[in-house]
């Protein structure tokens, strides 16, 4: 110990009022004579001289040389001895190693604080992770999953060899270049559990991914550029928060859209009228007078219905004429229905109830003129499920009345009902608005899914249970 405590001192000797000792002890490398700073005397086992690269045995009093070397060493991006504050704790870089799994190479800094012990700072070239050795064993939870500290992680890929290819500084274990361990990774977004097997011994390290720029700021190096093309297996999707945001905003917007479209008013029926068209007969005209539209721009919908059509069609020409200005707006519709059978079996086609929309009609009083002409169709394979009453085939006998009226012209009549509605919204516009609103959430969703897919992609040829959707 230190000084002589006075006789009447309590049994616990008080710390002498000398300046506190430094944690750094300079010694001379027995190989090259250069000064080597021992930063964790007593716990450090291996020291790699930063001048000549020799591996020294820190457990021997004279720093025995374990492996001689004479090579110019590279300097780690964060130099040995650098101190930085991470998560509120000060750490000093005491060791540095580079490791590879034969696909990628990464760097691991060994950090030390005399009151906190050791930590690892792992740099994969993109992002930094802060790691701690686990002092408890993970418990298996289901399948290939593990659980530790209330965190569930699942196995990522297969075990793979990890080689140490460069070391400098000091370590609390016997470290050497060329040493190979078998690593198995378990991940959950934000955290990786790395299991290392080496000569019958197994160690578990928990790695928590740091925010962009966090480690760089702590240790005074240039910040890394954000890029998400090759995420780490345990990287949190940067789009996840956005995704939530985008969908919340999108849904609010969609609800708003529906509320507004509801407020735009439901449709109002203005007029309805019927007329009998004659198949292959002359055109007929139906006039609906005094259709009043309120000031402003109006949407007008004209529906026609000819439910008795069979292998025939009705052309409908619409004309809205402003009584005051005599301006007219024209449009048309077709009601049609065909059926038959071919090699594929029976078929039907056509719409007996066409809808025609007019948008932005100025307010005023209008006359709606509907011109109808009905036509029969005699296509190949056409069949009439209901006999088309053609008097020429009927031997002059008409139906008494089976829903088929006989007009004075002797042709078959087709009843057509025309209704005029005002207001409401174009469904198409609502759908379009909805699509526009959802574009951003959908883009973010695809980005997120893409990120997750890249995150889960295993680089090595090992099989992967997580995704095999290629």
């Amino acid at each position: 110990m230190t000084d002589t405590p006075p006789l009447d001192a309590p049994a616990t000797p008080a710390a002498p009022p000398a300046p506190p000792p430094s944690t750094v002890k300079p010694v001379n490398c027995p190989n090259c004579g250069g000064t080597v700073d021992i930063r964790v005397a007593g716990t450090t086992v291996s020291v790699i001289c930063s001048h000549c690269g020799s591996t020294l045995d820190a457990t021997s009093p004279d720093l025995q040389v374990i492996a001689k070397a004479d090579q110019a060493l590279k300097t780690p991006e964060i130099p040995l001895g650098t101190r930085g504050v991470l998560k509120g704790k000060t750490w000093e870089v005491v060791g540095y190693q580079e490791r590879t799994d034969e696909e990628v190479t990464w760097a691991e800094y060994l950090l030390f604080n005399p009151y906190e012990g050791y930590a690892f700072l792992v740099d994969d070239g993109r992002r930094f992770n802060l790691g701690f050795l686990l002092d408890k064993l993970p418990t298996s939870h289901w399948g290939l999953g593990l659980s530790v500290d209330g965190l569930n992680v699942s196995r990522f890929g297969d075990p793979y060899p990890v080689h140490t290819i460069f070391v400098v500084g000091e370590f609390y274990w016997r470290v050497q270049v060329g040493e190979t361990v078998e690593e198995t990774d378990y991940v959950t977004p934000g955290t990786m559990l790395a299991c290392e097997d080496y000569q019958g011994e197994r160690t578990w390290t928990r790695l928590d991914m740091l925010d962009w720029g966090e480690a760089e700021a702590a240790f005074g190096i240039a910040p890394r550029r954000k890029e998400y093309s090759h995420p780490a297996p345990h990287e949190r999707s940067p789009f996840k928060a956005q995704l939530f945001e985008a969908w919340v905003i999108g849904l609010i917007a969609a609800v708003t859209l529906f509320v507004i479209s509801g407020m735009a008013g439901s449709q109002q029926r203005i007029a309805t009228s019927s007329i009998d068209a004659v198949l292959d007969g002359p055109e007929k005209t139906l006039v609906i007078k005094d259709v009043v539209l309120p000031p402003g721009r109006n949407r007008v919908e004209i529906d026609a219905e000819a439910s008795s059509l069979d292998n025939s069609w009705v052309d409908l020409d619409y004309s809205l004429t402003d009584q005051k200005t005599q301006d007219s707006i024209d449009s048309y519709g077709t009601a049609e229905y065909y059926s038959g059978s071919d090699s594929d079996g029976p078929w039907t086609e056509g719409d007996r109830r066409p809808t025609t929309d007019f948008s932005s009609i100025p307010g005023g009083k209008y006359d709606v003129v509907v011109t109808v002409s009905a036509h029969k169709w005699n296509g190949a394979g056409a069949s009439s499920s209901t006999p088309v009453t053609d008097t020429s085939l009927m031997g002059g006998h008409g139906f008494a009345d089976g829903g088929w009226g006989s007009s004075s012209t002797g042709g078959v009549t087709v009843p057509v009902t025309v209704t005029v509605d005002r207001g409401g919204l174009f469904g198409g516009n609502v759908v379009l608005g909805l699509l526009l609103i959802l574009i951003w959430p959908i883009i973010v969703l695809f980005r997120h899914l893409g990120f997750e897919k890249r995150r889960k992609a295993v680089l090595s040829s090992g099989s992967d249970d997580d995704d095999d959707d290629d």
Binding site: M1, P13, T43, V45, G117, L137, Y172
Partner: protein
């Protein structure tokens, strides 16, 4: 508290515990053995190295309702490193060990063998080696052997329950699925001894009286 003089150098020495037979003289590093009222110098003990440990004799800590002082220390070596075991003297007169290895701390107390169900005990007792992964039930907590090594005592200071001079042992570290940890040892031909407890941080034990280091802020743990 028993006060006496070192039989080797005459410097005052004090025994805090009546149950601990050995005290390493702070001045001449003789191991002084107390049998009844007699003190005998047993030989020089290697001085503990000046390591970067925040612990020192006199550190005060607390675990649950009990507080303790560190009054002794043994330093163990093995092929791939070394660690410290600090003797914790509790306010009820009992003792435990605060192990300090690779920057981690384990607070352990001896467990009676009747509370232990494990092949590790049998294997060590019969002189066989233990494989990592071997199971143990200690006080109904499940453990697995994580590390097995031959260790020897290289230095000591303060008061100790045994004479550490030239002591060597087989030491088995055990881990659990939570904070529990254990150590099973057999020194020479002695009986197997089992120690169990938990991993702790200096904050967990609200350590005070820690060593200061230049340039490192001293943590202030709230007891």
């Amino acid at each position: 508290m028993l006060r006496a003089s070192c039989p080797n150098c005459g410097a005052p020495i004090a025994f805090r515990s009546a149950d601990l037979p050995v005290k390493v003289c702070d001045y001449c590093h003789s191991a002084v053995l107390r049998t009844g009222g007699n003190l005998a110098a047993m030989g020089k003990v290697a001085d503990v190295p000046d390591d970067v440990s925040p612990l020192q004799l006199g550190v005060h800590g607390r675990v649950g309702a009990r507080s303790f002082d560190l009054i002794g220390r043994v330093r163990w070596r093995y092929d791939d490193g070394a660690w410290n075991e600090w003797l914790a003297y509790f306010d009820d007169g009992s003792t435990g060990w605060l192990g300090e290895s690779m920057g981690r701390y384990m607070l352990l107390r001896q467990v009676d063998l009747s509370h232990v169900v494990s092949d590790v005990v049998k294997l060590l007792q019969s002189g066989f080696t233990v494989m990592p992964g071997t199971q143990a039930m200690i006080d109904n907590v499940e453990y697995w052997a994580s590390d097995v090594k031959k260790v020897s005592c290289v230095a000591s200071e303060g008061e100790l329950p045994f004479n550490s001079l030239g002591l060597s042992a087989w030491s088995v570290d055990l881990m659990s699925a939570d904070e529990h940890c254990a150590s099973i040892q057999r020194a020479g031909d002695e009986d197997v001894e089992v120690y169990a407890g938990q991993y702790v941080s200096l904050a967990d034990i609200a350590a005070t009286g820690l060593r200061e280091f230049e340039g490192w802020p001293m943590p202030a743990y709230k007891a």
